[in-house]
């Protein structure tokens, strides 16, 4: 089924940035899922895979089994579980997210924002 270990493994490896959330990036259906979408947007990350667990109960349970993590949203970078909304927020605030994105070959938009600030 869509919640099996193999199925989930395929999904988390599909793209450098994969998010399991409630709703979609265009229309998040939970405040915590929305927070993840907004943080990624701040960094200019708009090209990622998002899976709406509300559309698939098997996936909803399967992703929790896979990561041994009880809540949604879940963020995977390069196939590795990074955490939920609170951890992503912490990574955003302490600069770790910019570094992790750099490792994936993604340049955070915030770096360009900083450069613009310095020019002024």
């Amino acid at each position: 089924g869509s919640g099996s270990r193999e199925a989930v493994e395929r999904l988390v490896r599909e793209h450098p940035v994969v998010v399991f959330m409630k709703g979609s990036p265009a229309q998040p259906l939970c405040g915590f899922s929305n927070a993840v979408v907004q943080i990624l947007r701040l960094h200019g990350v708009e090209d990622y895979r998002a899976h709406d667990v509300l559309q698939d109960p098997d996936l909803r349970q399967g992703i929790k089994n896979y990561s041994n993590w009880p809540t949604i949203p879940q963020v995977y970078l390069n196939g590795e579980f990074v955490g939920g909304c609170d951890i992503l927020l912490q990574m955003h605030q302490n600069g770790d997210l910019v570094e992790e994105l750099k490792k994936l070959g993604i340049r955070s938009a915030l770096l360009d924002a900083e450069k613009d600030q310095e020019k002024k």
Partner: protein, 84 residues
């Protein structure tokens, strides 16, 4: 609510955390679902978290509360280590 009153859920979770994290220097559990026991915020400071990545620290809390989490809609975890 006064600072001294706690919901049953908050007390129970705090007790479980004290048992599972004997070296914790600070534990705070807050019901953020208006007292319904549906969502909690956990703050825990312990030497047991030192040198561990945040996601690992959170996993330790998840494991400790695995039974209780089954009955929740969500939880937020904030872990830290004491200043050396």
């Amino acid at each position: 609510r006064s600072f001294t009153s706690q919901t049953d859920g908050e007390s129970r979770l705090a007790r479980v955390l004290r048992e599972k994290f004997p070296r914790a220097s600070a534990i705070k559990v807050v019901d953020i679902s208006g007292g319904c026991g549906a969502m909690y915020e956990i703050h825990i400071e312990s030497e047991e978290f030192r040198e561990k990545r945040t996601v690992q620290q959170h996993q330790m809390v998840n494991q400790a509360l695995s039974e209780e989490i089954k009955h929740m809609h969500g939880l937020r975890i904030f872990t830290s280590t004491p200043k050396p």
